[in-house]
Symmetry: C2
Subunit: 394 residues, 2 copies
C-alpha cells in the first residue's frame, strides 16, 4: 500500500517508515525537521545520537536497496501537501507531524498560539488534500489518550451510549484535555470527525498512550537507522526520562503524589498498532477511534519498575517526589477501554520490563550525552506560565 | 464597569456598545472591519444602509455627548490586544470578534483554514491578555447553540451528570458542530474552559441562538446608529433573510424539509442577555455556560410566522422548499435548556411577531438595496465544497 507519513523524521515517524517499508508498503513522507529545533530551543539533545536526514536516507538506501521519498516541507503550506499527494497518490496517510509537547505549549502566549496554529492548520490541510486529491485514502491521525483527561467514569473508545433524562443517544465522549497541546489534539479530533461526516472520509483517530523505548527490530544494527530519545522536560516522556535518570544516578522525578495514571506502550507496540490500522481500513465515511496503549500504570508504579530493572543491571536508583509543575489531578479513577486494536489482532508486549532493560542498556552507552544536559531533568515550566524549578517534596 | 467589546463594528457589537454605554458602562472596543469586507467578497450588502466607522463615532459623540474608544485593530495580533488591555484595563471583555458564517467557512480550503486560524488565535490572544493584564476580568465569549449539533437527548447548559457503567460524573456535554465555523467555536469553548481551569479565569460561554431584528431602542432616530442587516447566503441568517425575501416578493427559501429546529432570539434579547452576563460575573475560576435564546422553532414555523406577519402589512408571501446545500439532519429531536439566564432575570420577548413586523417595515423602506442583490437569496455553497445553486423541490 502507498503510505504517506506526515512527520517522518520524528520519534515515531522514522521507525514507522522502517517498519511499514519492511512490511512491503511503499512509504513516502514529509517533515520540516522542527523536532530537532524545538529540542535545541529548550536546551536539550537526544540521549541517543541521531543521524541527519541525509545520513538516514543514505542508510535506508544502503540497507534496503531502494530510496525513501522523505521531503522537507511545511504541512501548514497547503500547496506543498496537495502537490505531494498529487504526485504520490497515497492510499493511507498517517499524521504524526505535530508539535507533541505539553510543557512546550504551556510556556507562554507565543508557544501556545504557535502550537495550536501549527497543529490545527496542518491537520486541516491533510483533511483537505485527502478530499481534493485522494478521497478514498484512509487517514490515521495520531491523537492522544490525554484528550480524555481523567474523568470519574470509564473511558470508552471515542463514543458512548448515554441515557439523559429518559432518552438515549450515542455521543462523542467528552474531551477534557490538560494542556494547550492536548487541546490542539482535541480540536483536530473534532475537525477529523466532521470531515468524515461531510465528505465520507475514512478516518482512524488514534488516542495513543505514552510511548517508551529505544528500538524496533527493523532498525537493524546501523546506528543511522535508530530513532531519537529525548529526556528534557518538554520532549522527554515519563519512562524514557526515568531511564535516562537511572543511568546517570539521578533520582527518578515523580511529580506530586505520583499516583497519576496513564496508558503506556512500547515503541514496538505503537508500530504494530499503527500497522494494524493501516492494513485494516474503515469503510468510506467511517470515523473510528482506537485507544492505543499496552496498559494503564501509575507514574510511581513505572518509577518502581525502572528502579527494579536498573537494580538487575547493577544501577542503584532513588525515587523522589517533586512539587508538581502541572495542574492535574494526582489521584483519580482511570479505566480506559482498548478493545478495538485487540479485535484487529494487537498482542500487547507481555513483559515491559524487558523493554525497560533494553532501553537502560542502550542508554548506558550514552551516559555522557545525558550528563551534559542533566539540569534538564528537573522541570521548571509551570501550568500558570511561570518558570520555577521543582523542588524535592518527599 | 469598563467593558471591552471585541468585534464592536458587527451586527451585535455595535448595538451592544450603544446598549451598554446607555446603561452607564464605560465601553471600548476593537474591530478590523472585516465583516464589511466579507459581505462584499460574497457579493452582498447590508439591506439597511450602515454608517462608516467615522460616521458611527461622530453620531455617537453627537447623541451621547462623549467619545467612544473604538479602534481598528487585529485581534490575532497579540501586541495589539495586550496593549489595548493595558491602556483600558477592562473589567469585562465581550468577545464577538470572529468570522461568524457557516457557509463562508465551507467554501474551500482557504476559507476553512482562515476561519479556524482567525477564530482560534484571536480567542487565545484574548485569554492570554486577560491572564497577563487583567486576571480578574470576566470574559464573556460568544459561542453558538450550533456547537451542540442536534443530539437525540436534551441539551443542558454546557455540562451534564451522566451515569456510565455504574459510575457517575459531571462532564462537558459533547459538541457535534455542523460547519468549520461552528467547529472553530467548539475549539474556542474548549480553550476557554481550560484557561478557566488552569488560570482561574472568570468566564461565561454564551451558546447563542440565531439572532434576528433591526433595532434596539438605544439606537434612537439617527440612521448612523443603526446596525447592519445581511441577507446573502453567508451572512444572512434565517429570519433576517426571510424578511428580506418577503419585502421584495421573493419566495421564502426553506432548505430541505424545513423541519430543522434551532434556538432564536431578537436582537434586543441578545443585548439584554449579554448585559445580564456582564452585570453578574462568575467567581474566579468559574467557567459557566449559558444557552441564550428566546425559544426553539422549526425553520418552517418561522417562515409561516414571517408570511403571516407580512400578510398583515399587505405583503403576499410564498414559501418554497429548496434542495438543502448543507449536510444536516432535517428532522430531529431538539430540546435545549435555557434556565441560567432566566435565573439572572432574563425576560424573553413575549411576542416575536412584533419584532418581525418592525423588521419588515424597516426593510420596506430599503427594497431597492435587496432587489439589487436578489440573486444572493438562493444559496450555492454546498457542504461538500462544491458550488451549485439550490433548486425548488416543493
Amino acid at each position: 500500500m502507498r503510505v504517506f507519513i506526515a512527520g517522518i523524521d520524528g520519534y515515531l515517524g522514522w521507525p514507522l517508515a522502517l517498519y511499514l517499508s519492511a512490511r512491503g508498503h511503499e512509504v513516502a513522507g514529509a517533515d520540516l525537521l522542527l523536532r530537532r529545533e524545538w529540542v535545541a530551543e529548550v536546551g536539550g539533545d537526544s540521549a541517543l545520537p541521531i543521524a541527519s536526514r541525509a545520513e538516514r536516507l543514505e542508510a535506508f538506501r544502503g540497507t534496503r536497496g531502494f530510496a525513501l521519498d522523505f521531503r522537507v516541507g511545511d504541512l501548514t503550506d497547503y500547496a506543498f501537501v496537495k502537490g505531494f499527494f498529487e504526485e504520490f497518490q497515497p492510499e493511507a496517510v498517517i499524521h504524526l507531524g505535530q508539535m507533541p509537547s505539553a510543557p512546550y505549549s504551556m510556556m507562554d502566549q507565543a508557544h501556545c498560539v504557535w502550537t495550536q496554529r501549527n497543529n490545527v492548520i496542518n491537520n486541516l490541510n491533510i483533511l483537505w488534500a485527502i478530499k481534493e486529491v485522494v478521497p478514498e485514502a484512509h487517514l490515521i491521525k495520531l491523537g492522544t489518550m490525554g484528550e480524555y483527561g481523567t474523568p470519574a467514569v470509564d473511558i470508552p473508545e471515542g463514543f458512548f451510549e448515554v441515557e439523559f433524562r429518559g432518552r438515549q443517544d450515542r455521543l462523542p465522549f467528552p474531551r477534557q484535555a490538560g494542556s494547550w497541546y492536548h487541546q490542539s489534539k482535541v480540536h483536530d479530533s473534532h475537525n477529523t470527525q466532521f470531515a468524515s461526516k461531510i465528505w465520507g472520509a475514512r478516518a482512524t483517530d488514534i488516542m495513543q498512550g505514552v510511548v517508551f523505548g529505544t528500538r524496533i527490530p527493523e532498525m537493524g544494527d546501523d546506528w543511522r537507522m535508530r530513532t531519537r530519545l529525548d529526556f528534557d522536560q518538554c520532549f522527554g516522556t515519563a519512562i524514557n526520562r526515568f531511564c535516562c535518570q537511572a543511568v546517570i544516578g539521578h533520582p527518578l522525578t515523580l511529580f506530586g503524589l505520583g499516583k497519576q495514571k496513564r496508558g503506556f506502550l512500547p515503541l514496538a507496540d505503537s508500530m504494530r498498532c499503527l500497522g494494524l490500522a493501516v492494513e485494516n481500513a474503515p469503510a468510506a465515511g467511517e470515523y473510528r477511534v482506537f485507544n492505543q496503549f499496552e496498559n494503564a500504570y501509575s507514574i510511581s508504579e513505572l518509577a518502581c519498575l525502572v528502579r527494579d530493572v536498573a537494580a538487575e543491571i547493577g544501577l542503584a536508583v532513588e525515587i523522589k517526589r517533586y512539587d508538581n509543575p502541572r495542574t492535574e489531578m494526582e489521584e483519580h479513577y482511570y479505566n480506559p477501554d482498548r478493545q478495538h486494536l485487540l479485535d484487529l489482532g494487537y498482542e500487547p508486549t507481555r513483559d515491559i520490563s524487558l523493554v525497560v532493560k533494553e532501553m537502560l542498556l542502550d542508554l548506558c552507552d550514552n551516559r555522557g550525552r545525558i550528563e551534559a544536559h542533566a539540569e534538564l531533568l528537573i522541570p521548571d515550566i509551570r501550568w500558570d506560565a511561570s518558570r520555577k524549578r521543582s523542588e524535592v517534596i518527599g
